[in-house]
């Protein structure tokens, strides 16, 4: 098991300073800018699909080609969007949030956020800005 001393690596003040640092605010903003709208989007799209299947079965039974109807195509589209969102999220995390998180973690390990220091230290220009 991990040594309890190691877990108490940082003081509460350091965490507070880190939380209020501009790079952390930026990190959170970048995370939320992707995760929240995307969650809303896939949830709305899923609900729309469930509601259409439940309350508009005739519309969903419209044949598109051969025996394949709109409902089956939209259902397969749910698979496609799920795979696509997964891919987009991984890209977003690799490019937009991981670099800041990795850099902050290294600085936190070196106690770079002790009161009075830190926030203006290393900048995060190294992170890819898109």
């Amino acid at each position: 098991m991990t040594d309890p001393d190691e877990r108490r690596l940082l003081t509460p003040e350091e965490y507070l300073a880190a939380q209020n640092s501009p790079e952390f605010v930026d990190l959170k903003k970048r995370f939320r800018a992707f995760a929240f709208p995307m969650t809303f989007a896939f949830f709305a799209w899923y609900l729309l699909y469930v509601l259409l299947s439940t309350y508009a079965p005739d519309f969903m039974a419209t044949e598109v080609f051969g025996n394949v109807n709109l409902g089956i195509l939209l259902g397969l589209a749910q698979f496609v969007t799920t795979f696509a969102i997964t891919h987009l999220y991984v890209n977003h995390a690799n490019k937009r949030t991981d670099p800041i998180a990795d850099e902050m973690r290294e600085r936190l390990e070196q106690h770079d956020f002790r009161a009075g220091t830190g926030t203006t230290g290393t900048d995060t220009q190294g992170a890819t800005r898109v």
Binding site: V50, N67, Q78, T82, T86
Partner: protein
């Protein structure tokens, strides 16, 4: 072939082949579990496999944990009989993983040690929140365990050629004993390997059947659908299996019921404690992300296979023969395997189905025992004054107790004829109502308080269970003409007043509301320092539990 099918009381194939393939799986996994047990020393080893599982391995293990008998046999069967409405299930089960990927997996990995309660109690008053989280973890695990155990007993009549209550009870006991053994000896590492092997077998088996079915129809999806539709239109109860509504379209209530189920499925996954626990077995948050990505691809592809297998069973076996077989809807995939590849393919699929149940129950047992030992025993009862080894000893004892309880209740559930899909849906509804709102508030809302957490967890849990008790699932569903019985748990009584089978539509929003209201009305301020620590740790990974070096 159909003559062969009718030889005896409904068993198909050669029980000896089925048993020997299942036996081979058990032997291989036991061997691996023994090898894995050599590194099982600390609590991190026992609960979290030393956090040494790679992202890819964990992705396979998650798929192994998630593709339970209900989703393997249940979804293929539902598609075979009801067509489109069965397909809807699989979409909810898959899309749900985006909640885990985008909002939960990485942040939980960074902040938790062994259980969901580690995160939920982090910035709250420890003991009440841990207790609440443990109670909801145990409730969800128990419902899920019951479903799997009852499923094992039901399968056995079909696949191993034994019938009768005593024989089924023996099988449930054997499954339970094996599960306890895996968990005791192998811990989380052994359980993980069992899940990886099972997921690989399941996906390969489904792939073979999919290609085979498509081959019969010249690799043309449209003609496969045509075959299924034609067969279903001529069945004893004609159904339109290509359009929505065959299962849920009957009345306004049944439609609302389906929306409720859909909500529970999509929001339940990220609150399932045995799924959350899998995130703690990898070394970093990045590996947690990688494992969810693998899981999404594997689960998604598997459900696409299920679509073909389901319609294939509808077209090649037919709804009438499926519903007449022991196990009814659950028999679709095994019957199709027999139709395509005879005894050998059936034996493989049957072996995989048992492996499925074994792997899932092992995962559930370790989660439930970790929650009891880590949250209830070590934190609440002993107030943290307990060594890691003492805690693991309690976890092992708890695993035996939980195993024994689930064997007993599983036999009872089987004899009461409790519907398996309902038990799983109930587990999802409880997870979505009691767990997910608190997880999201804890991670993303600074002003969330202890009172909010308790109101949300207990409120969601109590609302969920109460609504179920007073729903048609327990009493008062109208008698079905074909069987002369009511699908309710209790016959001949009616104390139901809640019209829906699934409570999610009411209990999930209620739990979110209670979490908000409880926080707003609470007198204590949120702990700002703890809150800062949780947030910084969640997003940067500082102070996250490291992998154990061996």
């Amino acid at each position: 072939m159909s003559e062969l099918l009718a030889v005896d009381s409904g068993t198909i194939g050669e029980p000896a082949v089925n048993i020997s393939i299942f036996g081979a799986f058990v032997l291989v996994t036991l061997f691996i579990t023994f090898r894995a047990s050599r590194n099982n020393k600390s609590a991190a080893d026992y609960y979290a496999a030393g956090r040494n599982i790679s992202g890819t391995q964990n992705g396979l293990a998650i798929a192994g944990d998630y593709l339970s008998a209900a989703s393997f046999l249940g979804i293929a069967g539902a598609i075979a009989v009801y067509g489109y409405d069965g397909f809807l299930y699989s979409i909810g089960f898959l899309v749900a993983w985006l909640v885990a990927l985008l909002l939960v997996a990485e942040l939980m990995r960074n902040t938790a040690r062994f259980t969901m309660a580690d995160v939920l109690a982090f910035r709250m008053r420890q003991r009440p929140v841990r207790m609440a989280a443990a109670i909801s973890t145990l409730t969800v695990s128990l419902f899920y365990l019951l479903a799997q155990m009852a499923g094992a007993g039901g399968l056995v009549t079909l696949l191993l050629g034994v019938s009768g209550e005593a024989a089924q009870a023996v099988v449930v006991t054997i499954v339970g004993a094996l599960m306890i053994f895996y968990v005791l000896v192998g811990g989380m590492r052994g359980t993980t390997y069992v899940q990886i092997i099972k997921a690989s077998l399941l996906i390969i088996g489904a792939f073979v059947m999919t290609v085979w079915v498509l081959g019969e129809y010249g690799f043309n999806l449209s003609s496969l659908l045509g075959g299924a539709a034609e067969n279903a239109a001529g069945a004893a109860t004609p159904r339109d299996v290509l359009a929505p509504g065959a299962q849920y379209g009957a009345t306004g209530t049944s439609k609302l019921d389906f929306v409720s189920l859909g909500l529970a499925l999509v929001l339940g996954t990220a609150g399932l404690p045995h799924v959350l626990m899998r995130f703690y077995t990898v070394p970093t948050a990045k590996d947690a992300r990688r494992s969810v990505v693998w899981a999404i691809w594997l689960i998604g592809i598997f459900y696409l296979f299920s679509l073909v297998i389901g319609y294939g069973a509808g077209a090649l076996v037919g709804a009438d023969r499926i519903l007449a077989a022991p196990g009814a809807v659950n028999a679709a995939a095994p019957l199709l395997a027999f139709e395509l590849g005879g005894t050998v393919l059936l034996g493989i699929i049957a072996g995989v189905a048992f492996a499925t149940i074994l792997a899932v129950v092992a995962g559930l047992t370790i989660t439930a025992s970790a929650s009891f030992a880590h949250d209830v025993y070590a934190s609440v009862l002993k107030k943290g004054q307990v060594t890691g080894n003492g805690e693991v000893r309690v976890a092992r004892i708890t695993a035996i107790v939980i195993g024994a309880i689930s064997i007993g209740l599983g036999i009872l559930a089987l004899q009461a004829g409790l519907n398996i899909a309902f038990l799983v849906a109930l587990a999802f509804a409880v997870a979505a109502s009691a767990n997910l709102p608190t997880i999201l508030y804890t991670l993303f809302w600074r002003n969330f308080t202890t009172q909010g957490a308790l109101w949300s967890i207990y409120g969601g849990l109590i609302a969920c269970v109460t609504l179920i008790v007073f729903s048609p699932v327990v009493s008062g569903a109208p008698v079905v003409e074909a069987t002369g019985k009511s699908p309710s748990l209790f016959q001949d009584v009616d104390f139901s007043w809640f019209p829906l089978n699934n409570p999610g539509l009411v209990s999930i929003p209620l739990s979110f509301f209670l979490g908000w209201l409880g926080s707003k009305l609470s007198k204590e301020r949120p702990d700002e320092l703890k809150s800062a620590e949780l947030e910084v740790r969640a997003f940067t990974g500082i102070g996250a539990e490291k992998a154990v070096q061996h």
